[in-house]
């Protein structure tokens, strides 16, 4: 028996993980996407209220490849994807690692609803490549992967699962607590669920909905109550984006966090970006769903504590 038996017994999970990664690549290559790599170490992250970057010398480890990938979109790369490590400070729990693997992809011309379609297509494709049928078991739920998947707006979800409306929740500053305790456990239990149209303040880089400026064209995918992906119709107005970043920095300051400098090159180039949609999907969590794992620790070779 190997001395490091916790690592030895993860072999099956890591073999499945490799097949899932191959399946993801195959899906995007067949769809004509270009695989790209952007630097992991960047001068400044996108200022967002609740995402903290890990400093690396005077720069930072990226929290997602979003800024660099959007600069590529602005330079005429119209369908791109990337699978890379990302870092977020102090994020550790059974569903979080401070260093985790993110899949991010962007396409010109799409909006968030077409992206939901494509995201569903990807997960069903990967499921088939690892020999999964129409159903999967995760966290004690039997989840039916056949189309169509459930779509519910944030407003409706609060109406169905919470005691107070989304407007009240925001007013009382309880949105996150209600989301975690009452709403999330109900999402994606029979079929995967896309929850969409988030309050405008919860989508710093997303386009606002034309018919209702109080919400952003942003969605999250949940399977078995687990949040897997976050996507949106991209904001491509650099002045508006700069204002949003400044607002996020003021929020950061008010809750005692450091502020980040403006990503000026990104902002300078953003106006050349065509209307697009983009999404980030947690690869470790996708592996958890396919393997019915309880903790993210079970699907990576090493956790930080094991190093």
């Amino acid at each position: 028996m190997a001395k490091n038996w916790p690592l030895a017994r993860r072999k099956k999970a890591l073999q499945q993980r490799a097949r899932i990664l191959q399946g993801i690549r195959q899906f995007f290559i067949e769809k004509g996407y270009l695989e790209v790599e952007t630097p992991h170490r960047i001068p400044t992250p996108a200022p967002e209220s609740h995402i903290d970057a890990i400093p690396s010398d005077t720069w930072f480890l990226h929290t997602s490849p979003e800024l660099c990938m959007k600069r590529m979109m602005a330079a005429g790369y119209e369908k791109i994807f990337q699978i890379c490590q990302c870092w977020r400070e102090r994020e550790r729990g059974s569903l979080h690692l401070p260093e985790f693997t993110l899949l991010e992809w962007y396409r010109a011309g799409g909006d968030y609803h077409s992206l939901m379609e494509e995201c569903g297509g990807l997960i069903r494709f990967v499921g088939r490549t690892i020999g999964l049928g129409q159903k999967l078991i995760f966290r004690g739920h039997e989840i039916d992967l056949s189309e169509p998947w459930e779509r519910i707006s944030v407003k409706e979800a609060f109406r169905c699962y919470s005691k107070i409306s989304v407007a009240k929740a925001l007013e009382q500053n309880l949105f996150d607590e209600i989301m975690v305790q009452d709403v999330e456990p109900k999402l994606g239990v029979a079929k995967p669920t896309f929850i969409y149209d988030y309050p405008a303040m919860r989508g710093a880089l997303a386009r606002l909905k034309q018919e209702d400026q109080t919400v952003a064209e942003r969605f999250e995918l949940y399977i078995g109550g687990l949040e897997l992906a976050n996507g949106f119709s991209e904001l491509v107005d650099s002045e508006e984006q700069r204002r949003r970043f400044q607002l996020e920095n003021r929020n950061r300051q008010s809750i005692g966090k450091c502020t980040y400098s403006m990503p000026d090159k990104f902002l300078d180039e953003l106006d050349s970006m065509p209307p697009s949609a983009g999404i980030a999907l947690g690869v470790d969590r996708l592996v958890m769903v396919f393997l019915n794992a309880e903790a993210i620790d079970e699907v990576v070779a090493f956790t930080p504590e094991e190093l």
Binding site: M1, W5, R9, E48, S49, H50, I51, R90, E91, R92, G93, S94, L95, H96, F175, D176, E177, M179, V180, Q181, E184, Y198, R202, G203, A204, E220, E227, N230, I255, G256
Partner: protein, 187 residues
Amino acid sequence: MYTASDLRKGLKVIIDEEPYIVTAFEFSKPGKGQALYRTKLRNMITGLTIDRTYREGETFDPASLEERAMQFLYKEGDHYHFMDNQNFEQIIISEESLGDAKNFLIDNLNVEVLLFRDRAIGVELPNFVNLRVIKTETWVRGDTSKADFKPATLETGYVLRVPPFIEEGELITIDTRTGEFSKRVKE
């Protein structure tokens, strides 16, 4: 002073003037939202558990407890008898206050008894204890169809998962912090 990001299983904090220990801990962060620390806390005096959710930046006072070296003597109903190694005084701690520690108490085990404002409220175990397996299924060597683990019952009645090669009557080491199998003891 602790902040919410220090919360983890086993941390002891003061809430409403009483000592609590974190028994379950979940870090949550709904998409683009703030970090939430969802905890179950056991009151170290009454044994009652409460659910609390904290936000990043919230602070706690640590529950400072006095520790005294004692030896576990015997169990009588749900009363556990200990002896102070210094003055040989005997004290009783209820099963409720012991919590999970009761799973790992064998006669003559040296522990640290915790006192909060001069009242015995629980014990601190060594990180590793050796306990005997009194019941487990036998494993057919080379049979790979079975799971990676099987259940085993220890002399204290505690049931845990062990690797398939562990047999009945064997002595094994348990990590008392996680309650999990650590290694087989060569006798």
